[in-house]
Symmetry: C2
Subunit: 187 residues, 2 copies
């Protein structure tokens, strides 16, 4: 005798909402499934050119691998004495924020059954290099401010979009302090 079990899965905006609901329920039952450790390694090339590689992470209580490693070159433009062979480090911050805000909107809108037609956003952040160059101790080294503009087409009104964007992990990472521990070994 053969028993066929048909599982109806709902996919909205390319997000499998059925599996998202199952994931949330599984974490509610077993909170340690929610502990993720993301990783990167970096090797200096020459000048300001560096190469980051992202291949493995930990999540749902197990070690996991990406399908293939992601290799991210970073450099600076000639005005900052680089070879312009990759986006700058500060630009990678904006890319991270943009991916996270947009992805957060896609996850949470889908979970609420709201259809998205298009999401576009623009980012601009201010860095005064006098901080980095030790020319003025009153000037901070990093971003002073980041401005973001979203244009969203779909079932979401602007207030809902703003509410959902505020859940973004990278938004929180940038808006609030993160503890960073650095160990150095001379080899």
């Amino acid at each position: 005798m053969t028993t066929t079990t048909e599982i109806q899965e709902t996919v909205l905006n390319g997000v499998n909402v059925t599996r998202l609901g199952q994931t949330i329920e599984a974490i509610r039952q077993q909170p340690e499934l929610a502990n993720f450790k993301f990783r990167a390694r970096n090797r200096w090339d020459l000048g300001i050119h560096t190469v980051a590689t992202i291949s493995d992470f930990y999540g749902t209580c197990q070690e996991m691998q990406h399908k293939a490693p992601f290799v991210l070159d970073s450099d600076e433009p000639p005005v900052l004495l680089g070879g312009d062979t990759g986006a700058g480090a500060a630009e990678y911050v904006l890319a991270a924020l943009s991916a996270c805000l947009t992805g957060t909107l896609a996850y949470h809108a889908s979970a609420r059954g709201l259809k998205i037609e298009d999401i576009q956003s623009n980012y601009e952040g201010d860095i005064d290099l006098r901080g980095f160059l030790d020319l003025d101790p009153r000037v901070r080294n990093g971003y002073r401010e980041i401005r973001v503009k979203f244009k969203v087409k779909g079932d979401l009104d602007a207030a809902t979009v703003s509410e959902l964007l505020s859940k973004s992990p990278v938004f929180d990472t940038l808006a609030n302090p993160v503890k960073i521990k650095i160990e150095v070994e001379k080899v």
Copy 2:
């Protein structure tokens, strides 16, 4: 009559130290040269797949372009309901930090005349997804902690490396709060 002016430039670790010194001196004379505005734009593709593009920026009192636009795909692995077509947003944060710490070391070590032979570093950061998924209001949405390990070969001792790393703009951006303003328009 032909006059030949020979300018002796010093390059160390691939960094043009002569031009770095000239840049610092120019900013000392005219501080507004130090105001940089970095930019990105992002377009949602489908699911959690987003595409960031970085092409222009403002610095040294003028609009500038990268040689070519940098296109950065971001996605999430299947366990996070994505297609794994690019590094995740939180992983891009680690890539940004790694590029900035390493680049900062290359700039400042070169300015001090210290030769670098090799720089390698590893990054690991903790995110508890219960924050993002609204399962526990006590859990923050972003990184709780990021751990970094540096291995440096060259003229720098570990204390100097630690001192120079602390100047990194992305380190400051993550370790201290950044003001982020988000505007939303429904189109």
